[in-house]
Amino acid sequence: MSLNTVLQLGLLGGLGGEDSSIGTVISTLMYFSFILFIFFGQKIQLWTMLWNASGSIKKLEYMKTETKNLTLKTIREIGKPKEDPASRLNSLMEHFLISPVDLDPAGIVPKLDHLLDVRDDKFKSDVERIAPEADDVQVNNLENLVEVSLALNTIFRIVRHFYLLGKKTSSFYLILQLQMILPLVMQQAEALIGASKAFAKGQPIGDGVGPLIVSKLMIGKRKRKIEKDVIVAKTKFEGRNAIVLKAEGPGGNVGKPGNAVRKIITENKGKISMVVMIDAALKFEGEKTGEISEGIGAAIGGIGTEKFKIEEETSKFKIPLYAIIIKESIQEAITPMKKEINDAVDKATDKVRSLVKENSKKGDTIIIAGIGNSIGIGQ
């Protein structure tokens, strides 16, 4: 019986027929709210959006403070600073990089590369200063941790800026834009929280799968440092002379694989028959973590300077460039390595093996580069 009666009553009940006073009140309220929504609907929507955004901002602020506290705690624990590191950390968390002018883009990459080098050195020396007792590995991990704090701080400041601006101007579209990107921003912030924990403890992260694969090829071989923070080893791989490289671990490092590849190619006078790059790549929603794909091109993320160098060098000598990627989400890439990703190591190595067999001859010299952050992964 009841569902039908309820529906009928809900639709018609208040509008007439009944004499009850409550029915009249409710119908008046309905009319009133109808008119209210016609005239102030957008305002009401604006308020609810602002309310939602303010909740997210509180959460972001909490995350930012938590990460900062974790960073300070880790610095005090490892670095045993004599003076309070808080003020210097505060200034590092506001640090910025002004990208070079791109009105005339030719030759912008070396300029950007130079700025990044300077920034890197500055971060490293500052971290060394606030953590004098830390060793090289720990300095690298702390540097990564400071970078995470900086990223969270920047996210918080930008989101707060648009929130306050929208509130001040009551601009529906300003707040709407914030509302639109907020879920993705929050996802990224949560991933950064996970990253901060991994960096504080020195645990391998999902992005480290490239170096992890290459590190397995390096076991027992003679290693040398070819460039800043990049380790290279020579090994036999399916009858080919493989030069394998990865960022130096177990400190948190991505190194400069572009410079390393360039140097190896120059050392071999361009006589390289193929370059294979192994990297973690962003999966689409719905795809499985740890799936492996192969393709063509420079598999390397970041701002683009390293990619540029590798592309330039390989095209100069017409060296084919192959990519093997291991799929993972943005969260998985910067939080402790999942088992699925670790399990992909052997499969990816097999894929590299067949790729090398199909595309080069025995006795050839090839380069295999494991791209990614080598935190928690030695060689």
Binding site: M1, S2, T5, V6, L9, G10, G13, G14, E18, S20, I22, G23, I26, K201, G202, Q203, P204, L212, S215, I219, G249, P250, T335, P336, M337, K338, K339, E340, I341, N342, V345, G376, I377, G378, Q379
Partner: protein, 150 residues
């Protein structure tokens, strides 16, 4: 102890929301029966109150569920696998500070060759516990599982 308190709070809120949910349905039912007896006002009030109650209870239950999933994620532990290349001796234990993949950690207890850390990863709770390396998380200090094929 903090985690313990969080859990109690969690259960209290869950119980409370369930109570509200059940009570809302009760009100709805009551107002419908009273409508059949001819009391229209009760129906309106009943429906409005019940809808508000059900809505609130559902929203609080869904946030609780989200939080439970998040807590479960956060409780996951990072494991380190000690492995001997020669005899395939394998030991899974909790990650300790200073561990890293390919770190040499001494001699293998089975064959006396080099033992090193072979992998470090986040434990996978979805995995069925049928594998020989049974991981018990209830006693972290005794979390060592040894498998030796030799």
């Amino acid at each position: 102890m903090d985690r313990e308190r969080g859990r109690t709070y969690f259960y209290i809120v869950a119980l409370f929301s369930m109570g509200i949910l059940i009570y809302s349905f009760y009100i709805l039912y009551n107002s419908l029966t009273s409508y059949q007896e001819g009391q229209t006002e009760n129906l309106y009030i009943g429906i409005v109150v019940a809808i508000i109650g059900i809505g609130l209870a559902f929203s609080s239950l869904t946030t609780l569920r989200k939080r439970a999933i998040m807590l479960k994620e956060m409780e996951k532990k990072v494991l380190a696998v000690e492995f001997c290349d020669k005899c395939s001796f394998k030991k899974v234990r909790l990650f300790e500070k200073g561990d890293y993949v390919n770190k040499k950690i001494g001699k293998c207890t089975q064959c006396n060759s080099e033992l090193s850390i072979n992998a470090i990863y986040l434990e996978d709770k979805k995995e069925p516990d049928k594998s020989p390396q049974r991981v018990s998380t209830s006693q972290p200090s005794s979390l060592t599982i040894t498998v030796c094929s030799a």
